[in-house]
């Protein structure tokens, strides 16, 4: 197992520490972006971005069920956007264990980050990435 993109995702080995995303905060204007970029996309300052731990939780912004999978992925599958409390709105997949059906997710629900293989396929079984799951279990 390896982390698909270690620059985006921190998986601590110390007990009690939980995984998180790694973003950038602009020292000049304060905005937070994910993934990281060296120049602030809002105030366009170069060299003012500092690494911040973000995205342990989020709020579901939107969701759909994709019935067609690109090579290396499976369908049907949830695809979602999540609003992180630090600011960014990011694309994500949903963690395993939920029935992929209408009514299981509801926009606005609290989500939490989990670390799982990118997909249960030979291409991606050994690549760990971030996904989100409902913080309090599915709606139904």
């Amino acid at each position: 197992m390896k982390i698909l993109n270690p620059d985006n995702l921190r998986v601590p080995t110390e007990p009690g520490k939980t995984p998180c995303l790694l973003g950038n905060r602009c020292r000049d204007c304060g905005i937070v972006v994910f993934p990281k970029m060296p120049v602030c996309p809002s105030c366009h300052t170069n060299g003012a971005m500092v690494e911040v731990e973000i995205g342990r939780t989020g709020k579901l912004y939107s969701h759909t069920i994709s019935h067609f999978a690109p090579a290396g992925f499976t369908a049907p599958a949830f695809q979602i956007f999540v609003d992180l409390p630090e600011g960014p709105r990011i694309f994500s997949l949903v963690g395993a264990g939920l029935p992929v059906e209408r009514g299981v997710l509801e926009d606005g629900m609290e989500m939490q980050l989990v670390v799982e293989p990118l997909a249960d396929t030979p291409e991606h079984r050994d690549e760990l990435t971030y996904k989100f799951v409902p913080a309090n279990g599915a709606r139904t």
């Binding site: 698909l4 993109n5 985006n8 905005i31 972006v33 993934p35 996309p41 809002s42 912004y61 939107s62 969701h63 759909t64 069920i65 994709s66 019935h67 067609f68 999978a69 690109p70 090579a71 290396g72 992925f73 599958a77 695809q79 979602i80 956007f81 609003d83 600011g87 960014p88 709105r89 694309f91 994500s92 997949l93 209408r102 990118l118 997909a119 990435t129």
Partner: protein, 393 residues
Amino acid sequence: MRDVAIIGVGAHASGRFLDKPMKALAYPAIWGALDDAGVKATDINVAYVGNSLGGLLTGQEGVRGQVVLQHSGITGIPIINVENACASAMTALRGAWLEVASGAADIALAVGVEKMNVGDSARTIGALSGVSELDLSELGMQFTTSYAIHPKINLKSRMAEYGWTAADFAKPAVKNSYNGSLNPLAQHRRPLTIEEVVQSRVIVDPLTLLMCSSISDGAAAAVVCSADIAKKFSSKTHITIAACVLQSGVYRLPGDERPDSATTSAYAAYEKAGIGPEDLEAVELHDAMAPSELMLYERLGLCGPGEGPRLIDERITTLDGRVPVNPSGGLCSRGHPVGATGLLQICELVWQMRGEAGKRQIEKRPKVTMAQNQGGLLLGQDSAVYGCTILKS
């Protein structure tokens, strides 16, 4: 800057042409445009060739423009290869326009060509995912998903916000399928009903198969020249490029109150052309997923928020309406060979403005028209490329 005229256009039909390589698709489009303009291959001073997926799908990673143009007898001039996702052809047109407007060239050629059918649709879809920023596509995000739930489009939220229904989503597909049924170059030529669009297979909820543009091969070309010499070559309706605007998307965080990039590019084009949305008499727009046409009505200023379905209900954007939209059939019916689409839109507008559109001819020949083309997807919630061209006759 000099005024620039379009004196010739040509297109290959859109569809599935497994046995035709890119250069065979491009040849009839290029010579269609040269013959239409009344120019020789040796009259062309410079050429821009738009293509998006040919490197990955055909293996011709470099010099695709030179390969395609040598096959058509155009050599020994500056040839510029353009990759700008689904807006590659509009970007090629902008290059040709700028060459002539600046005075660097007198006659320029713009070509768009795409070869998407390679006998393996998973490979094609994979290549198409590559026009989204890799951080998105490596997680399995697809274009259809972006139209369904991406913050800048989010058709699902429209259902909640404005009460749009699945039948509303189907309306542009039905309207455009009728237009496409009259277009001999269209990929899909069967008129659809609301029921069959709604009931076709769900691809990405709430988008069904018949709301999505499909995998397509095709090509289109245009010859542009300085407006003052246009009459020397062509006695057809004099058509000028009143604006040719290109913008990249901008990084947006939630709550960003700035106008959408489709809006800002359209209004930049209106300003350059000295017109407003109320002056448009025909529009070709980027309905990669049919319901996005409803959203683009708002963004181009054709209606207010949430009013999109009404423009079809009241027959404002139908072929017999005040401002027909996608008379060619649009991306879903005419076809969306991605790197050719922007110039396919231009071909249609030129034919309509000249009165050469056959059975789908708009009764009152339009004099002011717009082609809106966009492509790619970036982190930060915007498309990568927005293009908008206004033509006047």
